[in-house]
Symmetry: C2
Subunit: 560 residues, 2 copies
């Protein structure tokens, strides 16, 4: 039987039109670092997005499917670009300004970006790279910054405000296929070239609805959201779209991401919601401790990117800021889970706090399963640990092939598979690379990265759990546990330990200390003292260095 429903596509232009009319008085507030912040209504954003689209189409020759890049902070103009490019049928490509310049060059070339819209303050980063970016035909500059850096630039240079001035303030947005590309974002993998994830209108639309569902962030026009998470980081977790869907005001920090201005904007603009990674909140907490301010407006703080330390969560509770964990990744748009405890749990109880420390609960649109060491799917019992695999309408099923190279399957121009077996299951689920458990009521607890887990005799041992157990000994400054080959068990854990100055404990004492803290069969037989745990550029344990050092016999290992 056929449905009699209208066949209306889920398009970002619908979100824009809705937001700029029904919620036309809602605002994007951009911090300027001096005096009053800049305020622009959703109605103005809608008019200017239309003007930008006309400029892209008429003056810069952007047509359907063309990649239009942004190298920008969070601000009103970046929101305009968020709508102009996808609504006209082009593809918004947000460039991560924290990347190494070689990666940035690689990504721009892989996406074949035709236009780059850039904040003036970021010209020192972009200008030197232009000779290596042959696809870029136009540079559009917005906001303060030294334009002379672009003198002699090969691409044509435009001033953002001059470019859009006088253009029509409405645009007859095309009725696109909802599965068409709308935006793209590259993952900065630790190995290999970056991988492009291409979001569709459909995926972004559905994700925006989910963000606004009461069980997720539940935002309405009564909210102002402080969007600290960068717009180049998985679409700022979907907030620029979700806010237009329900009239949520956006407070944008632009380049003022330091604790002091963040504290000031919270105190003066009184946002009700904020979203950022834990590092930002650690800095803010230190700032608020040194110089107390009224941050009580923030009744919902979404923390993702990595786990929020319990101490930080408690500290924010004491300040009246309620932290809510969320988990996701570039490949998941990113909303995968949100840690709202079940309603039956008593507020303020230890049980509630334990729920808040999980990564969160899956919404209906994100199917999840755990795959164990032998490939079997594991029960949701809160104990069986496996690699998390997810499926859903806003979850990636492949990586981008590169401009002009095909269909999203097979390999890209360089021969790399677009559905690598370590990232996608045979039946099309995304392998997240995260290892953890799921409780019967659908709460995810991540314990390790799949590449760091120790596969011992058909069971998995969490390296993170072992590290935490060892580091709870007062004499231990740092500990990293890595898998090493073992003839009997396949893999076994190697404990590498950094002792505190003046420590008296030895390795035997540390091993004995683990009794009762972890299962007996998980206790490492191999131990070594090291000077310091090798770290990556962002300060994470660099376990591949330890594995290599072990393989090369560089570590002095005691087995007992």
């Amino acid at each position: 039987m056929l449905s009699t429903m209208q066949d209306v596509p889920l398009l970002i232009s619908r979100i824009l039109t809705h937001g700029s009319t029904v919620h036309g008085t809602s605002q994007v507030i951009t911090w300027t670092g001096e005096g009053e912040p800049h305020r622009r209504s959703f109605a103005e954003i809608g008019a200017r997005a239309a003007q930008l689209a006309h400029a892209l189409a008429d003056d810069l020759g952007v047509t359907e499917g063309d990649a239009t890049a942004t190298l920008m902070w969070n601000n009103a103009e970046h929101v305009e670009a968020y709508y102009a490019a996808p609504c006209m049928g082009a593809v918004l490509h947000t460039l991560n300004l924290r990347l190494a310049t070689e990666q940035l060059v690689w990504i721009v070339n892989h996406a074949a970006d035709k236009v780059v819209i850039v904040n003036g303050s970021l010209l020192p980063l972009l200008a030197p790279l232009l000779p290596q970016l042959p696809t870029v035909e136009h540079i559009v500059v917005s906001g303060p910054g030294d334009r002379s850096l672009l003198d002699g630039a090969r691409p044509r240079v435009h001033e953002y405000e001059e470019l859009i001035a006088g253009k029509p303030t409405t645009y007859d947005w095309p009725e696109l296929d909802e599965r068409q590309a709308a935006a793209m974002c590259y993952t900065s993998g630790t190995t290999g070239d970056p991988k492009g994830v291409v979001y569709s209108h459909r995926s972004i639309y559905l994700h925006s609805m989910q963000v606004n569902m009461a069980q997720s962030m539940g935002l309405t026009d009564a909210d102002t959201s402080l969007v600290v998470v960068p717009q180049f980081h998985v679409n700022a977790w979907g907030l620029p779209h979700a806010t237009f869907m329900t009239g949520v005001n956006m407070l944008m920090p632009d380049r003022f991401l330091q604790p002091a201005p963040l504290a000031e904007m919270i105190e003066t603009e009184r946002p009700t919601h904020a979203a950022a990674v834990p590092t930002i909140w650690q800095g803010l907490l230190a700032e608020l401790t040194a110089k107390p301010r009224d941050v009580s407006s923030l009744h919902q703080v979404t923390i993702g990117g990595s786990a929020c330390p319990p101490s930080l969560m408690k500290a924010f509770d004491d300040l009246g800021m309620r932290v809510c964990h969320a988990w996701g990744m570039t490949e998941t748009s990113p909303l995968g889970t949100v840690a709202r405890p079940p309603a039956a749990v008593e507020p303020g109880s230890d049980e509630e706090f334990a729920y808040r420390l999980t990564q969160g609960r899956f919404p209906a649109s994100v199917e999840a399963r755990l795959t164990g060491p032998d490939g079997a799917h594991l029960p949701w019992d809160g104990e069986s640990a496996g690699e998390l695999e997810v499926r859903g309408p806003w979850i990636a099923g492949a990586y981008y092939a590169g401009a002009g190279t095909g269909t999203g399957t097979g390999t890209d121009a360089g021969g790399a598979p677009l559905r690598p077996a370590d990232k996608f299951s045979e039946d099309g689920w995304l392998k997240t690379g995260d290892v953890g458990t799921i409780s019967p009521d659908g709460f995810l607890t991540l314990t390790d990265r799949a590449k760091d887990v120790i596969k011992s005799g058909g069971e998995w041992i969490s390296s993170v759990d072992l590290e935490n157990a060892i580091m709870s000994h007062p004499d231990v400054a740092e500990a990293a546990v890595v898998a090493v080959p073992d003839t009997k068990w396949g893999e076994r854990p190697l404990a590498t330990v950094v002792l505190r100055e003046g420590a008296s404990a030895d390795l035997e004492a540390l091993k004995a200390f683990l009794a009762g803290k972890v299962a007996k069969w998980q206790v490492p037989e191999r131990w070594t003292l090291i000077e310091a745990v090798p770290k990556t550029s962002v300060g994470k344990f660099d376990k591949k260095v330890l594995r290599r050092q072990y393989a090369d016999g560089e570590l002095d290992v005691t087995s007992f």
Copy 2:
């Protein structure tokens, strides 16, 4: 550029699987009229829906696309049928037990229902009709009622519990096309045969997300929803699906829809949300006035179907029950608008109350426009009145052709158009038949039905506004205004008035009374005194009788 997102369909089976696992402990609570209500967890509902699907497929021969009807009250078994039929690929057809029996027979035959699942208490309605229902092969009876009424019935008769007993409690739900039919509902139009609206998996899924968005009903697992609106009335406004998406408990009144049991279930089960038409709430208010009870748990009462009188809204405010207007119709799934005032409006103010009395605000997925008497689209200025037209992924674009008769376009077997020009615009929008205004911030105020509005010289006059103005005179008991032909203006209003006993006012006085209350050009020239306004079977003014009486010269009209 191609998106790299997974192509996952939006299916009702996903809602069921999610609800019965992640929210497996949430409950459907069915009132029994005596002692403890019956409680069934979402996990049990999921298992029993799978059992029912196996029974439908294996024992009753239901296959993909077959219409499976329900003639049931709101209860747990009805929820099971809501999931079993659509998830397996069949089509749930909810039969309205309030319809005239001729309409019921017509509808069952038009949909070619193969199975009817019926509550035992409704056998007195169904049994006598069976000889006229040749497509019905199976009757499945659930709950108390006299089975002997089915003695000698032609279709095979089954007991619901016996039918599902022993069947597997899981079902490998098929991966359907999301645009496939999932459920159907017939509109009981005032003229012509009923029209079938066929919802898709996609439309129901998206509608469920919208219901749970914070700006709409915003329900979570902290809520218990008292679902008074019948499951045969536009899918109980989407609640049986929306609740499984976020774990909302459902409180189901079964056949106990009288004010006293409703008051009792509110007091004892403490629902946080309720949904029903105003008539139900009028009765409940009288009950609560006569016998006060604690109804303070109800912080959100969704009222739709027709407008809530301001006095009723205020009375419920005083009881701590917050009424929220919503507007929709069978063709809109039904969520069209929800009257949550803008956040900037002061709570408790007259302005806020005025917003609450509107039909509400459109969400992003419902596009709206007003079409004036000349076919032009009118501005959203809160003043220009036109017929409301809507468009969106859960809005009907046609009516059902009938079993085996085609594609949803053209005409049905009886020659009736499936996209009649008075219901669908040429570009595919649904013409709602409602006339009203839209404010700049997207709030809809309905003033009249399109068929009752007076089209005078290219402007529209609301019959309802004139009636309210005339009825505000103390001597007037009732007044109905209808359009009559006028050579100069096309149409002009005719005022028909019923005076109170002992009234002294005459028609001239009434006409003079309108000065300043309505625009001068809207004041009727034609007036008549009548004994009583003719009414329909449900008590609404029957204006077509008045129009006919005027045309036939039966009314004694004074023109001045």
